[in-house]
Symmetry: D2
Subunit: 343 residues, 4 copies
Amino acid sequence: MKLATLTSGGDCPGLNAVIRGIVRTASSQYGSTVVGYEDGWVGLIEDRRVDLYDDAFIDSILLRGGTILGTGRLHPDKFKAGLETIKRNLDDAGVDALIPIGGEGTLKGAKWLSDNGVPVVGVPKTIDNDVAATDYTFGFDTAVSVATDAIDRLHTTAESHNRILIVEVMGRHVGWIALHAGMAGGAHYTVIPEQPFDIAEMCKAMERRFQMGEKYGIIVVAEGAVPKEGTMDAGLGEEDEFGHKTFNGMGQIIGDEIKKRLGYDVRTTVLGHIQRGGTPTAYDRVLATRYGVNAARAAHEGNFDTCVALHGEHIELVPLADAVAHLKQVPEGRYRTARTMFG
Amino acid sequence: MKLATLTSGGDCPGLNAVIRGIVRTASSQYGSTVVGYEDGWVGLIEDRRVDLYDDAFIDSILLRGGTILGTGRLHPDKFKAGLETIKRNLDDAGVDALIPIGGEGTLKGAKWLSDNGVPVVGVPKTIDNDVAATDYTFGFDTAVSVATDAIDRLHTTAESHNRILIVEVMGRHVGWIALHAGMAGGAHYTVIPEQPFDIAEMCKAMERRFQMGEKYGIIVVAEGAVPKEGTMDAGLGEEDEFGHKTFNGMGQIIGDEIKKRLGYDVRTTVLGHIQRGGTPTAYDRVLATRYGVNAARAAHEGNFDTCVALHGEHIELVPLADAVAHLKQVPEGRYRTARTMFG
Amino acid sequence: MKLATLTSGGDCPGLNAVIRGIVRTASSQYGSTVVGYEDGWVGLIEDRRVDLYDDAFIDSILLRGGTILGTGRLHPDKFKAGLETIKRNLDDAGVDALIPIGGEGTLKGAKWLSDNGVPVVGVPKTIDNDVAATDYTFGFDTAVSVATDAIDRLHTTAESHNRILIVEVMGRHVGWIALHAGMAGGAHYTVIPEQPFDIAEMCKAMERRFQMGEKYGIIVVAEGAVPKEGTMDAGLGEEDEFGHKTFNGMGQIIGDEIKKRLGYDVRTTVLGHIQRGGTPTAYDRVLATRYGVNAARAAHEGNFDTCVALHGEHIELVPLADAVAHLKQVPEGRYRTARTMFG
Amino acid sequence: MKLATLTSGGDCPGLNAVIRGIVRTASSQYGSTVVGYEDGWVGLIEDRRVDLYDDAFIDSILLRGGTILGTGRLHPDKFKAGLETIKRNLDDAGVDALIPIGGEGTLKGAKWLSDNGVPVVGVPKTIDNDVAATDYTFGFDTAVSVATDAIDRLHTTAESHNRILIVEVMGRHVGWIALHAGMAGGAHYTVIPEQPFDIAEMCKAMERRFQMGEKYGIIVVAEGAVPKEGTMDAGLGEEDEFGHKTFNGMGQIIGDEIKKRLGYDVRTTVLGHIQRGGTPTAYDRVLATRYGVNAARAAHEGNFDTCVALHGEHIELVPLADAVAHLKQVPEGRYRTARTMFG
């Protein structure tokens, strides 16, 4: 049997661990071979592929961030227009099953390919943890760890009194990274896209800390955080494809507003892409490896039109349709639990 | 309402995060107070208790390894003989519910107290991840991370050819830490207590690597690993309370045997207690905090005779009896998956 | 003998290690006692002091960022006006020698006190490494490590082609952190305050990378970087007390300009205060401890009007006057060496 | 001009950073080329060499532990017998200058080659920091950091009272790693090869801690530590080439003896090779890069028979003869300073 894999969409620590898991399993358990397409769907359409051998190189990629296959973005229209090319390329290369590793958009594309006759097993990938069908996605734990490490460091800076420290973390549509990093880091306030924030309440929380003799307050801001309608002027913002309004530099915007309202010193850290890079955590490497092993198994067992998913302790197969059904947002109850620890 | 908590048994990163979660929830959500008993059951019997306030100190313990309450061990007979003292001490202190944080032994004690009329909500704690009722326990991810970091470092030492590097990790009865660290670290062989090992097969795996041109091999050894009956002389060993035979210094024993059989240079790292200490990972802090929040809620809602547990994404309450039903071992299937990645 | 110490100015990992070094040495070697003044000079004038015992607490602060004594800033005029109060407070407390730990401003104050009859031994503290009298200052290695770790992570993000990643690091007047982090992290371009940058040259360096098939470029920007006169519009900026022009958000300014000129995707990370916080590196803890030990010794041996300094492997005493003589900038030769590794 | 380089002796984080520094400098500053010989002197004699290009691969090795060239050991007699072969190989390859990177033994070999007409610039490499001619060697800071991180973790394990935790670190002949890690980690006792230890005094120090109410004690043991003549039975040991007696498993030996004398629980961590591996610290990467840049410069400027060395802030050239003059041991004064912090 011959498998093909590709990585698509934004970076995510653990991508290489999935690839390694697929290649090792195909080779050692089934005597199969694996090819990788470069730069996501683009490489599949342009037939740019490399053989992935079960060798020392593949072994060494476990620790590496990024993806050895590269990623790319392709407009859905171009992707769909390429169906025949894709099928021909897979045929010509003798590929029996395709294992695309990607986020919601990629999995939607995978579903469409599957509906059009391509044998597909998907692997969910999103640093934001917003895929509904799985408990957790790899890369998320690494991003949370990086953000938590930053918050940890801020706790010990106490240069002056009444200082507010803001950490802007990833999360344009969902607040999982902010929620977990804020809880792990012991932030004093956390705002997420799912729950429009009230700047006045946030200011009050900071004031209360200072009145109780605390020197500083730490606020975690998901980049997609939005103010409650009419509570503050955050500029015009932009509407994204989901109709969700986002603002660039939300950490800075909030910081400026707090400074204006309270007059305190405010310092902002913008973590940016360092959350997407670097060696994955042990957790992410185990999860990604298990995804790879199980995706290769599913392909060999003919379980197509599926997606691997973590349910509790187990890796299971779910219908590919389920994986793209909806964006997994932070439920109100989880935010309420997080709020318990604010202050 | 007044809650009491205590920590019992071996160290485990995240204990302080649980305590903080209990205190903050009790205070901010219910206006309740919390006392902590020192050194586990011992302090409860000796009535050594401290008030735990929702203040800057409690806030600061989130990152700290160890436990601010201390832990201790008490023989079950002494514990049972102390029932009346325990009840009187709790009564005198006005405690409405007890939240013991501990491993299998502690939870068994908690169950017995519960059966004898003490309102109890348990919090499972085991660095070994061997509590059946919950997907994962806090501290486990930290231990796996420490072990994985050690394995990562070994991969780049290439001083000489044909060297075998052994890492002995924790796990006297179950192999979860070895299994996960071995997979996360890309070890070439991993042995766990659940699956008696065949030293000849292990040697063969190392030989195969060298024949393929690899310079080195890394073997992860759970401290409780045992050889297959009759395959090698590992000394007398000792039988533990479960009738399970263990050997002290299994990493060294295996290393010596490999050296004897193959003649290669073997170097051993014994991680020991560094796996139990230090700042918990972000994952463990989130899990421990959620355990604390939910245990405090359960106590306030009168859900006694229960234990908090992680099921998928959710923290749920399980009957305390379930939490101590049996030791969660590594199932054969999971070890098989791990083996896929050996070599 | 009775020593007093205080910490002044911005945060710096290692401050607590110095304090611990002073207290342990005074106690174990000389049987002396130590008091600490809170919030820098402010606490000295307001006579807010705490006894520092050689106990488990002092032992535990070694790993902690921040300072247990707090820091503060005081206007030089107020400081000078407080001379008599300071002397009386020290007298009343029975203090025989004062060990202020601080940056250039603090050491200037210390020199002035020394000239006015207060027995002083200074400890240089600057995260920026800009004190001329010593090879290195503690805190610097930690800041460089944090920045390097961020750069490391960016190397593996390869989401799309032709992306430029900017990391803004500390360094308003000197570029040591940028220089070292850029070299340690393998940045492709680094700009420092000492060498006004040419945006056109920077753009050309990025273009050259992409032409050679590289996917991305990483630029390290010291916050105090300035463009060469007339080469780009960076806004008005502000002049600081040294007559040096600085611009807020230099990382963003450079990023916007590059985007405008080249049209590529640019992402910016602003590390901010996370460089000043957290557990100090082993290097900084050793340096800070040795400073503390040697400052306490100097005080007991009556070597006043001095400052501890690192020269090669040795901690030596230099005249306090030398420590504040001038700001230690990055010499041209060191920047030239760094440039060798650009590209 | 054409340079050659090779790495010899034990592993050391930073080797690749030196190689990268040499290649980049040769290429970007002088338009020269570089070849690398594999496996140290062995590859030079067997003429196994690879071209090292100034490309993305060389750029990427900065973060990697180990050495891309491999290392090896060769008996001095064989080395000397190979002189003519070496000279012919270098000649045939058109090599103008050789830059060997290695420890004392390697530099002695380099000196001998130099005396026999080979143009040589040496780069000192020893994880143990025992080269006399330089303040610090790369790899040392990484080893100290790994050991310190382990000690940090042990501080927070407090499972039971009166426990003694032993960490065995590298250092067969000199105690620099133990000295620095013990000071950075806040160990309560540290033993080094240079100062034979008195087990009775060590036990007394632990007893004193427990009497003062401390729960645990941490002892750092350099692997080459030796007991004072007649104070305890440590087995026979072996004499090394310097006539220095060493014992295998000194951490365990000391632990057993303490347990025998005091009866307390003793746990031992043996770090082993994890101290030699993994990503170098920022400090080591800067030092190693500067060594590489300056060695390449020295070669181009014809400054042969030299060795690069760190003196204070500067990289300087010292006569190769000086670099191998003697082993740099921990001076008594430094150990005395360390002792100040014991207890």
